[in-house]
Symmetry: C2
């Protein structure tokens, strides 16, 4: 066993960096991976919500009703559920822009990481609630538009306004995708916190 008075051991020890310095100098690779996945998911969230808003806003369609010979239009502002959907997606889109910038900053400066992690985990859950409820509302109303409801004599709308319905359907599907991304983001934030306990 090498004693502390052994000159060979002393020389070896002098060449090694101090333990605390070695820890801060070498970035933990798994945390950095988490940050990259975090940024990628937030970019996906931004793209999905932005395209969902564009599709919903540009869904307006005008048709001449054959029986009445009157031009009638269908647009998202005709339904409160679709207005709520656009507002919720706009909030999620704005939130994703802020968190992309914050997440990039956290990747570049790991000291920020800990601060942001908890706030992100809290806010991700709130935005998930908003996006999921908006998806449900738009999906519920959109389904009546597609299939109608004979029990209460609500006629289907999609047989007349096909472009409008295509836009609504695609927009709702993208919102569902955004909700799944938000679930993954919340799980990632929680997992990152959990990993810090183990490390």
């Amino acid at each position: 066993m090498a004693s502390s008075t052994d000159p060979e051991f002393a020389a070896k020890e002098a060449t090694l960096p101090p333990k605390s310095l070695a820890k801060s100098d070498v970035p933990p690779p798994r945390r950095s991976n988490c940050s990259v996945v975090d940024v990628a998911l937030r970019v996906l969230l931004f793209s999905a919500t932005l395209v969902a808003i564009i599709l919903m806003v540009t869904s307006e369609e005008s048709k001449i009703v054959p029986i009445l010979s009157v031009k009638r239009s269908a647009k998202f502002t005709h339904s409160p559920a679709f207005i709520y959907f656009v507002v919720a997606m706009a909030v999620a889109c704005f939130y994703s822009i802020i968190t992309i910038l914050a997440s990039i900053l956290a990747t570049l400066k790991p000291t920020f990481h800990k601060k942001f992690l908890l706030h992100f985990a809290f806010l991700d859950v709130l935005i998930l609630g908003l996006v999921a409820s908006a998806t449900g509302a738009a999906g519920g109303v959109g389904y009546i538009g597609l299939k109608g409801n004979n029990h209460v004599q609500w006629m289907k709308v999609c047989s007349t306004y096909d472009k409008f319905c295509r836009h609504i359907g695609s927009s709702t599907a993208l919102a569902l995708f955004a909700a799944v991304v938000l679930v993954l983001l919340s799980m990632l934030s929680t997992y990152s916190l959990h990993k810090r306990i183990r490390d």
Copy 2:
């Protein structure tokens, strides 16, 4: 300074419990508080989802339509959005029963706490997505029933079936409350994990 050969110091050291034992013997009071709040919130979630299901299932109402002199009934199975709502609430209710038991077990045996904490945080987020989307769907369809939509000639239903609509409205409000409880539960799980890093 007392040296390791000092007999007084040696006697003092012998009477003190080992460090690791002292840590496990004294329960951290803040963590225990979190567990109590966790159980309380899960009981609230169970109550809210159970009452929401009962209200939705018992919403059936039959009325004689004056013009047609035909008995017509309104029930939740007439709308796919309400069926989805009942299924989602049933899943959330079942989940709340399991997690109440697990949470009580974690409070009694703190060794289980760490294991459950991460799984709870993951599953709470998933169930939140389910409950929020079901609330949105039921709310969206319920709103059309209440106010109608003149643009697509969907008549209001609530002027005829008032009991049915009261049940749907109360059920949706309880689902919204359950979603808020789930947001708080997710935040609590994340906060508990964050607190473990600080402690």
